[in-house]
C-alpha cells in the first residue's frame, strides 16, 4: 500500500478523532474541516478527481462554515459546566467499538475476495456529464428538488416567528 495512503489516512483519522474528542466546540469544527480535507485527498488518491473537488467545494466550502455558524448562533463556544460527554458515554463507546469490530472482521475475512483491478480508470468530466444527464438523469432531478426543498425548509425552520414572540 502506497506511502501516500498512510499519510492521508492518519491525517483524516486524526482530524476525525479531534473533531469528536476536543472540548472547545469551535476547535471540533476546525478539526472536522481537517478530516474533510483528508477525505478529499483520499478521493484524489483514488483518482476520483470530480468527487474530490466536489467534496472540497461542498463540505469545506459550505458545511464546515454552516457548522461553525450554528455553533456561534447557539453560543456553543463556551464549554458547558457539567462536562462535555453525556452521562451514558461509556455505552456509546462500547457500541462504536462493537461496530468497528464487526466491520473490521468482515473486511479482513473477505480481503482475498475483494476485487483489485489496478488499472487507473480514465474518467473525464465529459463522461461524468453524460452519465449525469444520461443514465442518472432521474436521480439528478430528484436531488435538485430535494436541495430546493431542503433550502426552503432550513430557512423556514430557522426563521424568527414574528407572531409567536409578540
Amino acid at each position: 500500500m502506497s506511502f501516500v495512503f498512510y499519510i492521508l489516512a492518519t491525517l483524516t483519522l486524526a482530524g476525525a478523532l479531534a473533531a469528536v474528542m476536543l472540548k472547545n466546540t469551535v476547535h471540533c469544527a476546525l478539526a472536522l474541516t481537517v478530516a474533510f480535507a483528508g477525505l478529499a485527498l483520499l478521493f484524489l488518491n483514488l483518482d476520483a478527481q470530480f468527487a474530490g473537488f466536489a467534496q472540497i467545494l461542498v463540505y469545506i466550502g459550505a458545511v464546515a462554515i454552516l457548522v461553525v455558524f450554528a455553533i456561534l448562533l447557539t453560543k456553543g463556544s463556551e464549554t458547558p459546566k457539567d462536562g462535555v460527554f453525556s452521562r451514558t458515554w461509556l455505552a456509546g463507546l462500547a457500541i462504536a467499538a462493537a461496530v468497528f469490530a464487526v466491520l473490521g472482521w468482515a473486511v479482513l475475512n473477505s480481503a482475498w475476495a475483494l476485487p483489485h483491478e489496478t488499472a487507473v480508470p480514465e474518467v473525464t468530466v465529459k463522461q461524468i456529464g453524460d452519465a449525469l444527464v444520461g443514465r442518472y438523469v432521474l436521480p439528478l432531478e430528484i436531488v435538485a428538488v430535494l436541495l430546493t426543498a431542503a433550502m426552503i425548509g432550513a430557512v423556514i425552520v430557522a426563521m424568527h416567528e414574528k407572531e409567536r414572540t409578540k
Binding site: M1, S2, F5, A9, T12, L13, A16, A19, V20, T25, C28, A29, L32, A35, F43, L46, D47, A48, F50, A51, A54, Y59, V63, L66, V67, A70, I71, L73, T74, K75, P80, F85, S86, T88, A91, G92, L93, I95, A96, A97, L103, V107, P115, H116, E117, T118, P121, V123, Q127, I128, Y136, V143, L146, L147, A150, M151, G153, A154, V157, A158
Partner: protein, 103 residues
C-alpha cells in the same frame, strides 16, 4: 492486504469514530458532526469500491458518492436549522435537556 481492504478499514474506523461522537457527545451540534463523519465514511467506501471494482467506466460508485455528498449537505443544513430553532426556544443545545415534547 490489498489496497481496497486498506481503504475499507479506514472507512470503517472513520464510521465508528463518527458513531462514537454521535453517541457520546452532549452538544447537539457535535452529534451532527458525528453524523457528517459517518456519511463521509460511506462516501469513502463507495469511491474505493468504484476505483478497484471490475468496470469503473460505469461510474456507478462515483455518481452515488456525488449524490450522497449533495444529500448530506442538504441534511446538514436542515439539521442545523433545527438545532438553532431548538436553541432559540429552549435556550440549550444539550441533548439530555431536550426530553419534553411540549411545543
Amino acid at each position: 492486504m490489498s489496497p481496497l481492504a486498506g481503504f475499507l478499514i479506514v472507512a470503517a474506523l472513520l464510521f465508528s469514530i463518527g458513531l462514537a461522537g454521535a453517541l457520546t457527545r452532549r452538544n447537539a451540534i457535535l452529534v451532527l458532526i458525528g453524523i457528517e463523519l459517518m456519511l463521509n465514511a460511506a462516501n469513502l467506501n463507495l469511491i474505493a469500491f468504484w476505483r478497484y471494482g471490475p468496470h469503473p467506466e460505469a461510474l456507478t460508485g462515483m455518481m452515488f458518492a456525488i449524490f450522497s455528498i449533495a444529500v448530506a449537505a442538504a441534511e446538514a443544513a436542515v439539521g442545523l436549522g433545527l438545532v438553532i430553532q431548538i436553541h432559540r426556544h429552549a435556550h440549550t443545545t444539550d441533548i439530555d435537556a431536550m426530553n419534553r415534547m411540549k411545543g
